[in-house]
Subunit: 218 residues, 2 copies
Amino acid sequence: MREVFQQEMREVQERLVEIAGLVADSIEKATKAFNESDVTLAEEVIAEDPKIDAATVELDELAITILARQQPVARDLRIVVSALRISASLERMGDLATHIAQLARYRFPDKVVPKALRPTFAEMGRLDVEIARKLADLLQDTSNVKLAEEIHDEDDKVDALHLEVFDKVLGETWKGETVDTVDATLASRYHERFADHAVLIAKKVLYLATGDWVPESV
Amino acid sequence: MREVFQQEMREVQERLVEIAGLVADSIEKATKAFNESDVTLAEEVIAEDPKIDAATVELDELAITILARQQPVARDLRIVVSALRISASLERMGDLATHIAQLARYRFPDKVVPKALRPTFAEMGRLDVEIARKLADLLQDTSNVKLAEEIHDEDDKVDALHLEVFDKVLGETWKGETVDTVDATLASRYHERFADHAVLIAKKVLYLATGDWVPESV
């Protein structure tokens, strides 16, 4: 029974890695679409989000089937519950990438943010992509504490850039129109929440490696 | 066994109702603090959020214990998984109420939004409070389809008001400063996400009543 459980959990893990890969592709395209005003890429992200949603629903069904058939207890049970939590966060990360792509599409052919903010968003986007790639790696190599720490550190950088966006927008040199202010505020929030979810997932994965149960709130 | 399960699930349900009540209190105080620039009330919301977090963590532990001890299958299993999902959304609703309270605190003694937007936010806040109260009632009376529909309809109204905020901010008569634009954008987003989570929960509860399993994505 235990062996079957472990085999089924490897399947869960593979699917989580796969979904994290889709999310990483999605945020990579979304931030490129956002920074370069590439409407085709933006539409690709928007069109592909239902695939991420469907993959997480399938994964949840698999996890529930494992709970029903294998009746795991103790640590095994918590691993399955963690998988359900991770799936929910990945689904949300896909939504946030889509929101970033939608901003790019709405403003096309204009760029979403004025020149003064572009380097900040380019760096936020780069960090979000890197975080997502590392997250996929961490889901593959769950005992890699270093990767989890890197995700955590990069999230700190995203938070600092999020504050930098507000500093620039509220600074005296800001020349953006109101629509620029609205879009920069939303875009910055989406980038920041995306990284938050990655940290949440990394904490759960660390639990799988270390046995320290991490509650839901981050 | 089944009887024990049902008794334990009543305990889960009671706790969900209780947490939803805390969330409703929190959004009621947060929107009042936001609309009336009441910093004492804002600080109360911020100080009390850890209680909601702790209550959801305890609930999750109870649900996991039930999974381990009762080994539910089929519909019973899905009910426990739904409870975990509902708990996560309630925790997030508490966070969003706290974010609204934080905006009120940052801007004190000023009001967060200029006069032109106050009626819109007053109405959004009123709807969020009503949605949260109805959600607590629905968690108590899970077969009340009418309540779930009302939550859904009120969420549609919140979405419309969310768009109205952008229309006003981007309209020609908008006289707000950049900081007003930023705060209105964030506040509107928080109000809108709060109602989204309520709809997500209502869908899960309807499943408990009707047996139609609702996947995670909303």
